[in-house]
Amino acid sequence: MTTQAPGHATAMAIADTAVMTRRYLYHYLRKPSLLALAVVQPVLFVLLWTYVFSGAIQTPGGNDYVDYLMPGLFILAIAFGSANTGVGLADDLSHGLIDRFRALPMARPALLVGRTLADTLRNAFVVLLMVAVGYAVGFRFHAGPGPALAALAIPLAVGYLLSWISALIGLTVGDPETAGTASLLPVIPLAFTSSTFVPVATMPSWLQAWANSNPITHAVDATRALALGGPTTVPLLRAVAWILGLLAVVIPLAIHRYRHITQ
């Protein structure tokens, strides 16, 4: 029908991505189980960890454990939620929807970009909810509003990366249940062998070496430094480098996978 001028292409790609983002947000709003999970899980995380562990763990610098813990919990909750991306895409795939979209004249990356953006908006909601619950149980940002906002951006960036990884997994395994389990597989060991719950210095020395090179440790350290104060440059640079480096690998792989899916 209409032929697209090259200058138009970018505007079209943005419009297509917006259509897809909206579609996946509707899923979150209309599937009661997804909505409930997005609300209950973060609240549960905050309450469980702060009350169960706060008496037992000594934090460096004498911070309250809740202050120490919250930055790690932001990332943990988002990491657990990232499996949604792969599950949703595997579901689309098994219902023939990926074929339908691939046969439409929409921009090739629009579906995956739209999906991961919708997941990021969900994550933003999760993080804000956790801040609210955290404030109720004594958590405070200590370094001012600017760094506080940056402290929320890091978990969202980690979430964006994990969504793309989950997308790649979901499109590869093609079955929602497998996609859910497979997406969590790398997340759980990475999250627990990082500085999320305890300072790396308290771990056995062999584990310290691993924990210090774990990208989740860098992300948690950067978030923590921004939330509580302290030197931010080194952890921030490391975290950003890891996230951008991995995105540069995973995004092309996932888009390639999307373009070449055969049932």
């Binding site: 029908m1 929807l97 074929d99 691939r102 439409l104 004249p105």
Partner: protein
């Protein structure tokens, strides 16, 4: 050649060791309906997937609406509509939202999208259910919504992969009506089906494929002439007498009868059923053969395949050869 709505030459696709498609040629003029007829696993869906840019062929080339599927996939996608075998609609969106989303992705402007959505909801009898999530729809409604979505972009070429599956008789009737309307307005349709009758009703031209190969093509009339019109089916009370019965009625048929000694069934392709029926009964009665069942039926896909894959259609085989092949059981198991 560029005037053809669909043009394919030598399409081939292999999955591992399975040859899904082998050297398939298609030439479909604009404003016509091509029926791709074949059993499960014949290569129908593979063909549709190649022509709709979802799958790259290993060999051959194809163009749809004048655009090469490999080199200009975006232009192909703008010109086509696809309704796949699964009713691919978003269960969490309403019918209206599904159509609206497709309209935006075809890059219709907002007003045109609204207009088109309303038209299609009306045409497919979905206006009442338009604002309910698709997951509350019945199977037939899903299918109708799926078809409606495939039409949002005013496709020049429409691909329907087994469109009547999941439709009730009313839905089928509606589908036929819709396809006729579209074709009158100049749309080209490629549809796949497992049912000869459906291809007969809907298609101007039929390509029969089996195990990835085209084994026959022509208008429904040509094809039916080739496979010999209706079938007279006899079942003898004593199976052993089936061969004798077949010999007695053989000259009434348009080609040789098929005999199944096990079940006592004789299947005779005939040109004029009503005239032949009394004569066949009289002859069998005179010969003292007892029938347990007698039926006159339209040829089925099984008959097409039996005729096309057993009788070598071209060049004609020697008569003795034909007689031998016809004495094989009339039913074939297929997966």
């Amino acid at each position: 050649m560029r005037d053809l709505a669909i043009h394919a030459e030598g399409l081939g696709k292999t999955y591992g060791t399975v040859q899904a498609l082998h050297d398939l040629d298609l030439a479909v003029p604009p404003g016509s309906v091509l029926g791709l007829l074949g059993p499960n696993g014949a290569g129908k869906t593979t063909t549709v997937r190649i022509l709709t840019t979802l799958l790259r062929p290993d060999t051959g080339q194809a163009s749809v609406a004048g655009h090469d599927v490999a080199r200009q996939p975006a232009a192909v996608r703008q010109a086509i509509g696809l309704a796949g075998q699964a009713a691919a609609v978003d269960e969490h969106l309403t019918g209206r939202e599904n159509l609206h989303m497709a309209g935006r992705l075809y890059h219709l402007d907002r007003a045109a999208t609204h207009r088109r959505t309303g038209e299609l909801l009306e045409r497919f009898d979905l206006s009442q259910a338009a604002d309910r999530p698709a997951r509350t729809y019945s199977g037939g409604m899903h299918r109708r919504l799926d078809l409606a979505v495939s039409l949002v972009g005013h496709p020049q070429v429409l691909f329907l992969d087994e469109p009547s599956s999941g439709l009730d008789p009313r839905g089928r009737h509606q589908l036929r009506h819709t396809i006729r309307q579209l074709v009158q307005a100049g749309t080209t349709v490629l549809l796949t089906t497992q049912y000869l009758e459906e291809a007969d009703h809907l298609a101007n031209h039929i390509v029969v494929i089996d195990r990835g190969r085209s084994i026959a093509h022509g208008t429904p009339r040509q094809l039916k002439t080739q496979i010999g019109g209706d079938r007279l089916q006899l079942r003898l009370a004593t199976p052993a007498t089936a061969s004798r019965a077949a010999d007695i009625v053989a000259d009434l048929g348009s080609s040789s009868p098929q005999v199944d000694i096990q079940t006592g069934e004789v299947t005779l392709p005939i040109a004029d059923g009503v005239a032949i029926l009394p004569e066949a009964v009289r002859r069998l009665d005179t010969a003292g053969l007892t029938l347990s069942d007698l039926a006159l039926r339209r040829p089925t896909l099984d008959d097409v395949f039996l005729t096309l894959t057993r009788h070598p259609t071209q060049p004609p085989a020697a008569p003795t050869d034909q007689a031998r092949t016809n004495r094989q059981p009339a039913t074939r198991s297929r997966t």
